[in-house]
Amino acid sequence: MNILILVSVLGVISLFAGLSESLRQHTRTIIVAGLIAITGLTMFTWNAKQFFPEMLNFDKYAAVFTTVILVISTLIFVLSKDQFNHDEIHKGDYYGIMLFTVAGAIMMVSFSNLTMLFLGIETLSVSLYTLAGSRKDLLKSSEAAFKYFLLGAFATGFLLFGIAFIYGATGTFSVSGISDYVHNTPQLPAIFYGGVILIMIGLLFKVSAAPFHFWAPDVYEGSPNIITSFMATAVKVTAFAAFYRLFSGAFVDVNEKWDNALIIAIALTLLIGNFTALAQTGLKRLLAYSGIANAGYMLLAVLALKNDASNALLYYSISYAAASLGAFAVLISVSDDEKTFEISSLKGMSKSNPLQAVLFTIIMLSMAGIPPMAGFFGKYMVLSAAIKEGYLAISLLAILTSLVGIYYYFKVIAAVYSAPDTEVQTENKANIVVFICAGISLVIGAYPDLILNLF
């Protein structure tokens, strides 16, 4: 609650910071400092007084995921140093909209009422549509914004339709109210299940799972790099946290009715994500498809929610976000928004920038799921959660497709270490964000308990 207000106020400050020349220079610094302070505060409000508990329940789950989202956002603001230079005077506007996105994300991870879930999703999505189109001088950025907007509005329609069905069946928007209704009604009306499936479609779109993934590659490719990294990390983690919170809070008792639909979606996501990624030559598109594939593994945690898989989801989210953000930080350091960056252009990085090459390798290994990096334990945890619940076939498919994944991640690593086409100058520096991300991948891989003891 306090956190939500503070983030929104920070966004408003950022909107108005453009008024004075001296303030404009330091907007980003102010935001980073503010976000660090808010992150610190989140840890103190672990068990604070609740103000509207029937709307936003700031429990431990919400606090943990809020912290994760705030940390990722802080790193993205650190990374965004020269990213909005095409519109120097109005930088503050973009920062402000990004902060409103974070505010929407906080609503999405702490909601206890479907109205708040919907408001959160809308605040997040509407801000993202604008951000995707923030390079007005580039055609592909406008195209990305337009595609995202049309398909996103369509998915929101499904979600809202589902919420209306659920309300029609239960007469309440509150998550605990719905759960009580499910408990106390022996014969649920079919309209309730229709609602569950429609909500699931809306949320599967937001997490870019197949068969609702078609927007993701184009939008990731067209959006400015910094916005893509934001979408692939903070937004994805948020969407999964909301998905898990809703289904474990309200629909856990009817999970034998929706798990088959989810299993099919997971199978498609794993197959399409991993096999299409094999054919990609552009680094950004490869990361987009790897994001789709990773959505499949994270959905396994949602599938296994009957036995509290929130630990596994949290661990996987952090390991995926760290690896993905690190990869995007490398991409941002070597390319600009204007043209497509091919994987083959990475050639010679081990000569020109050995330090970054090593860190990038760690990040890619973590993504591929090689022990002792965090990515391996993340996959291990979601898989063991799913197997414990008896979903053997889909877990086997997940293991097999993750082997496919190793191939294309190693293609990137091979490019980094192959000989350069031209003579290059050696420089030995890496972005601080790449450092932090590689560090997180190693540390939580070595000490998984750091994360697992949070709950």
Partner: protein, 162 residues
């Protein structure tokens, strides 16, 4: 009496919605959407929700669709420029749309009650609506401000000249 009114209104709603999709001329489509919105406002009145009915007419039929119409006329889009899709895509779209229709029909069949009965007859009156909005739903009401602020900032950002 009410039941007949409901059937007539529903027929108009569905008919106009279908005509929206089937008319070749975009301007006709918009006009049919306006007609659809008006008949939905009629449904709200049947449910004793006058405020919603007025808002539906003023905001949707009045403001938004007139904006649509103006844009269509500015861009001179009143010719049909429909690109033809491959047969396979048409069939796939028909099958998936039909499946969704089937699922919805099946889920509605059990819980179908046709007469317009609202849970509390006076829930849609302005007084009760305002009461709920400023007590129980105060927080979502305030949180909407963030959404609108972000939308406004976004609209200005996207339309501003360099």
């Amino acid at each position: 009496m009410l039941l007949y009114l409901f059937y007539i209104l529903s027929a108009i709603t569905v008919g106009c919605a279908l005509l929206t999709i089937f008319s070749k001329n975009p301007v006709y489509s918009v006009l049919f959407v306006i007609a659809t919105f008006f008949s939905i406002a009629g449904h709200f009145i049947l449910l004793n929700a006058q405020f919603l009915a007025i808002v539906q007419v003023i905001v949707y039929a009045g403001a938004i669709m007139v904006l649509f119409l103006t844009v269509l006329m500015y861009l001179n889009l009143n010719k049909s420029v429909e690109s033809s899709k491959p047969l396979l895509i048409k069939i796939a779209a028909m099958v998936s749309g039909g499946l969704l229709f089937l699922v919805l029909i099946a889920s509605f069949k059990s819980g179908l009650s046709i007469a317009p009965t609202s849970v509390r007859g006076d829930a849609g009156l302005i007084k009760n609506l305002g009461n709920t909005l400023f007590t129980e739903y105060l927080f979502p009401f305030e949180a909407t401000a963030v959404l609108f602020l972000s939308t406004m900032a976004g609209a200005i950002t996207l339309t501003r000249k360099k």
